[in-house]
Assembly symmetry: C2
Homo-oligomer: 472 residues x 2
């Protein structure tokens, strides 16, 4: 390598750069070699020098480019404040449940199951197969791939009692995840400014979607046995609401599975008030001691609009959900979801269908049931032993979370900070309340990474609880 | 195969089915073989008979299930009419441009390029690689994968003139397609009931998204050289609008590339009125005789919000778009897109990045340019020869479409019907007008399948035009 010849190229290129516009592409290494009669190594050394000086930048596989000059002036975006105005609805901050945790932390805050609980081999095989098929290069119909729509319909239909007609494939709309479904349902079935009943506590993503659309939440208390059907009836009568958003199977966060009698009476109230039940069957694949029993299967009068996501049980990269609705509601929802997202990647739909119709999917779900059971019991036992002040009202019969009541005077922000300082990430319960929280709660996800660390995590929570975090 | 033994199994199973609930799963083939002492072939024959009789249904890979009884009563969804009320905004029907055409038709209506114009090998390889990587099983951050955000920022930054600072990766939000971006931008930057300027004609998907959000469209005439900047200025002044939605490069449908002077004067008007320019760079990769020149690259004051989709140029299955915005607008948009869709499949993001950073991507784009040029010229020449009544104002220098003016008294619905009867699917221009169409137009996509059929298609259009389709 010849230093002076590399320096010579640097000087020549700096001259060239001085008169070139920002973003201009430098000549290729090959032409610089020819122009300067230097070796490729020398030319590359010169380019590295220029990169180090911040005047050019390399984009791998593309070439080397003149950098834009760094402007020192700070930008003034003040004019945007006037253009934007005050927000119509202030959106809640995104929940800490979506935070990416540090690698070495014990993460009990997240809403997603760990990779070891996913059907990894099935997912990879299905994606690889889909990458070779038609779906990789073609556009899906707006409502979804016909085979996947049939599958969603058949899954719900399989739970239909005698005398209740099953949904048809044409009643299914495939969505890029259930969050889009929530937004769309609040827009189309409720509408800005109008009331919608919601369990309290309930899923923070639904609370967020409601805030985005600007619907008015009407909280209905919901405990380990779901809501009191009388409360639901009275809330409908009082507010004139025409919809109730609920998670009857393994409610997030409480884990409640509505008893059949509650489900029947709520459904009766919904019918009596000419309303919709928006059933978010988020944990359909996460039954442990019980199976999810969709209310939508018992209804063929169009009162229940059903939402089932595959994202959590198949893979977070497979953003696919099915929405089932009948009657004019379906048409209005489809018009909205088309305007919002046009269509869902056919590749993801094909892969999702491939996973859930593979015989190994049933085997996986059976094994998952056992894994969730032992993780749930391990965490519950560890909390009972090491953090007895955190009270578990009911052991959930499915889902991914424990919902723990803390002493009333717990300083929740301080508790989460103290735990985090010790490497345990927890989610304070406040985000799951559509109004003021009625107590201090923690939601602990037992499907996250590293169940071996549950006792340690419980010890840390227990010590933080008995220590400084009690402000009262 | 023994007929009577197959019949015997059918009878036994019909008894069993009569007392089973709808949706119940039949015993496995193996256990039926054991139970009836029959061969698997005989059992399967019995099952096929039952399927033919409509009493059971087979779900491949899952099993055979008792069908739900067909209820004869028609459903009464009348109550939904009261619950839903009249729609706030009546959504336009989904454009015929999204129709799936019959296999053997000559399809000139669609908005998407044919598979042969896509980088098929790159896409399949990238998807296969992504299916083996981390992205297949993990959740993407809400704003997108950092590497993909950097790539979108660098692409726009590469076009920035000296003195204008490039966008940062943190200014980029990855979306599941540009349609979601349009909805989100109309919600956050405009808001229901408020005015937004739009070129006329303009992209029907934007008109649809505007209707969904309920913003008020203010059409600004736009021809082969884009809009008149004076018109833009006056429309801002007259309506107090704070945003202008436009496609400065290869406008859909007209194909216009705004001359530099028009772009500068429009940008000046946008700044003067403290407004946003929503720049939809839909055809960034579809330059033919000219390159797309994003206005957003010339602005670092947050006035231009930039939208670029990879869906059309990479693959319809890779629903990935980048939105670039600076200042508080970015934060407000991100809050909205999170509430709407949470995050975009990391698998699709990883595959998209893999495609666009591969050296073969540049090679593909160069070849694509040539293919689009010859398809465009072939269709334009065929129309000039065989359908001279269809007038092409200007040969587009990029994009996917010819925009043809028809005689004023053309009966468009009849023309499209007549062409379709002869196997040519065309899109009437009306859907591209935010208000009443100012004339009769056709949008013909030259990037669809089968350019060899262009002369034949032109002949059919010409004969339909000169025939009965002229109502005047």
């Amino acid at each position: 390598m010849n230093n002076s010849s590399s320096d010579r190229i640097v000087t020549a290129l700096r001259d060239w750069i001085a008169s070139a516009p920002a973003g201009a592409q430098l000549p290729s290494t090959r032409s610089l070699v020819a122009e300067h009669g230097a070796s490729p190594v020398t030319v590359q050394k010169a380019l590295r020098t220029l990169i180090g000086q911040g005047v050019v930048e390399s984009r791998p596989g593309v070439g080397t480019f003149v950098c834009a000059p760094r402007t020192a002036r700070p930008h003034d975006y003040g004019w945007q404040t006037s253009a934007l105005g005050a927000p119509r609805h202030r959106l809640p901050h995104i929940s800490p449940a979506m935070r990416t945790a540090p690698q070495d932390a014990i993460a009990l805050h997240s809403g997603y199951p760990d990779k070891e609980l996913l059907p990894e081999r099935l997912v990879r095989t299905a994606l690889a197969r889909a990458s070779r098929g038609d779906a990789a290069l073609s556009r899906s119909p707006a409502a979804g791939l016909p085979e996947l729509r049939s599958w969603f319909a058949a899954e719900l239909g399989a739970a239909a009692p005698a005398g209740v007609s099953s949904p048809a494939a044409s009643d299914v709309i495939v969505l890029p995840g259930s969050q889009s479904g929530l937004s769309s349902l609040f827009r189309t079935l409720v509408g800005p400014g109008n009331p919608v009943l919601i369990e309290s506590p309930s899923y923070w993503g639904a609370i967020l979607a409601a805030a985005q659309v600007g619907v008015r939440l009407v909280p209905v208390p919901s405990g380990p046995h779901g809501p009191d059907p009388g409360d639901v009836d009275r809330a409908f009568a009082r507010t004139g609401a025409r919809a109730f958003y609920a998670q009857p199977s393994f409610t997030n966060p409480t884990g409640a599975l509505w008893p059949a009698a509650v489900a029947e009476r709520v459904l009766a109230a919904v019918r009596r008030h000419g309303a919709f039940l928006i059933e978010d069957d988020w944990a359909h694949d996460f039954g442990i001691d019980a199976d999810a029993a969709p209310l939508a299967a018992r209804d063929d009068s169009g009162h229940v609009v059903y939402l089932r996501s595959l994202t959590k049980s198949v893979s977070p990269s497979i953003r696919v959900a099915g929405l089932i609705a009948r009657g004019p509601a379906r048409d209005r929802i489809l018009a909205d979801t088309q305007a919002e997202a046009m269509y869902v990647s056919g590749l993801l739909q094909a892969a999702a269908l491939d996973v859930v119709t593979h015989p190994a999917w049933r085997t996986h779900l059976r094994a998952l049931r056992g894994q969730l059971a032992s993780r749930r019991d391990l965490l519950a036992a560890a909390i009972a032993e090491h953090a007895p002040a955190a009270h578990l009202d009911a052991v959930p019969r499915g889902g991914l979370n424990l919902w723990l009541r803390l002493p009333d005077h717990t300083d929740l922000p301080r508790l989460t900070r103290d735990c985090e300082a010790e490497g345990v990430i927890i989610a304070a319960g406040d985000d799951w309340f559509p109004a003021e929280p009625t107590g201090r709660y923690l939601r602990l996800n037992y499907s996250g990474p590293n169940p071996g660390a549950f006792p340690e995590a419980a010890r840390i929570i227990g010590s933080a609880l008995s220590g400084s975090a009690l402000s009262g």
